[in-house]
């Protein structure tokens, strides 16, 4: 019984460390770039990490109070990526006349 608890607790501790490292690494990619698309992908990973952290906290502490938060994050997480991806485009030389009025 006690060995079971030790195994479970150490697995949970490992999970927390892995999630923390993942969030920090994703944050590094958001800051470092280099391109806008990289930042969008990394912020998507950061959001996914956040959802998983919220769920992990629920599983560890044995409550279900933050399920609405998980649902909301999963539902609206798409908007950030799509909104930014819509406006990513190849940089056009300033002399090009075709960019006028296209957006």
């Amino acid at each position: 019984m006690i060995a079971d608890a030790v195994v479970a607790d150490s697995l949970v501790a490992v999970a927390i460390v892995l999630l923390s490292v993942a969030a920090l690494v994703a944050l590094y990619r958001v800051i470092a770039g280099p391109s806008l698309v990289d930042r969008v992908i990394a912020s998507d990973v950061l959001l996914t990490t956040l959802i998983i952290v919220v769920g992990t906290e629920m599983a560890i502490n044995g409550h279900t109070r933050t399920i609405p938060l998980m649902v909301a994050l999963a539902a609206v997480g798409i908007f950030g990526s799509v909104a930014v991806a819509r406006f990513v485009s190849r940089p056009v030389p300033e002399s090009s006349p075709t960019q006028e009025g296209e957006l």
Binding site: D4, L11, V12, V14, L18, Y28, T48, V82
Partner: protein, 157 residues
């Protein structure tokens, strides 16, 4: 202690919860390592999608096992459904944006099915190439316009 006894199942379920949490955390870390190690946005996109579905499913299973409740599992299914519906859309949009911005290493592609289509449609921003001379707007067929917005939105903005 029999099989129907909760004293028999509780330690096993606790370990199962911990294992699922560790698996989800491992997938999340794998995505983060992919973000760092992979060379261009398209391959980073591949790494980023790992925890979005499978990791989330593991966490949902862990929560439901932790409280031992079918009702909670039912409440959590919308989370997975929303991710299943929205993750491919955002990945598609971001991938297309990366392609159009030329933000990828064309040497790593094994096949590129979009480039001939863009060329056939008379678009000028070919991947990795310089801007060609755009034909005048009136000479272009209607479908060669920007692929992004719908026609109604263009008029509105």
């Amino acid at each position: 202690m029999t099989l129907g006894d909760s004293a028999f199942w509780n330690p096993i379920l606790d370990i199962a919860v911990a294992v699922f949490l560790a698996l989800a955390a491992f997938l999340t870390l794998a995505a983060a390592v992919g973000l760092i190690r992979f060379p261009d946005p398209l391959s980073r996109l591949h790494a980023a999608t790992k925890p979005q579905i499978l990791g989330l499913i593991f966490v949902v299973i862990a929560i439901a096992l932790g409280v031992r409740s079918w009702t909670v599992l039912l409440l959590l299914i919308p989370v997975v459904v929303f991710q299943l519906l929205t993750a491919p859309i955002s990945a598609h949009m971001v991938g297309r944006a990366a392609y159009r911005a030329g933000d990828f290493d064309s040497e790593t592609l094994t096949t590129d099915e979009l480039a001939p289509d863009i060329e056939a449609a008379g678009r000028s921003d070919l991947p990795g190439g310089q801007l060609l001379d755009e034909p005048p707007r009136s000479a272009r067929p209607p479908r060669t316009r920007r692929p992004g917005p719908a026609k109604g939105r263009r008029g509105a903005s």
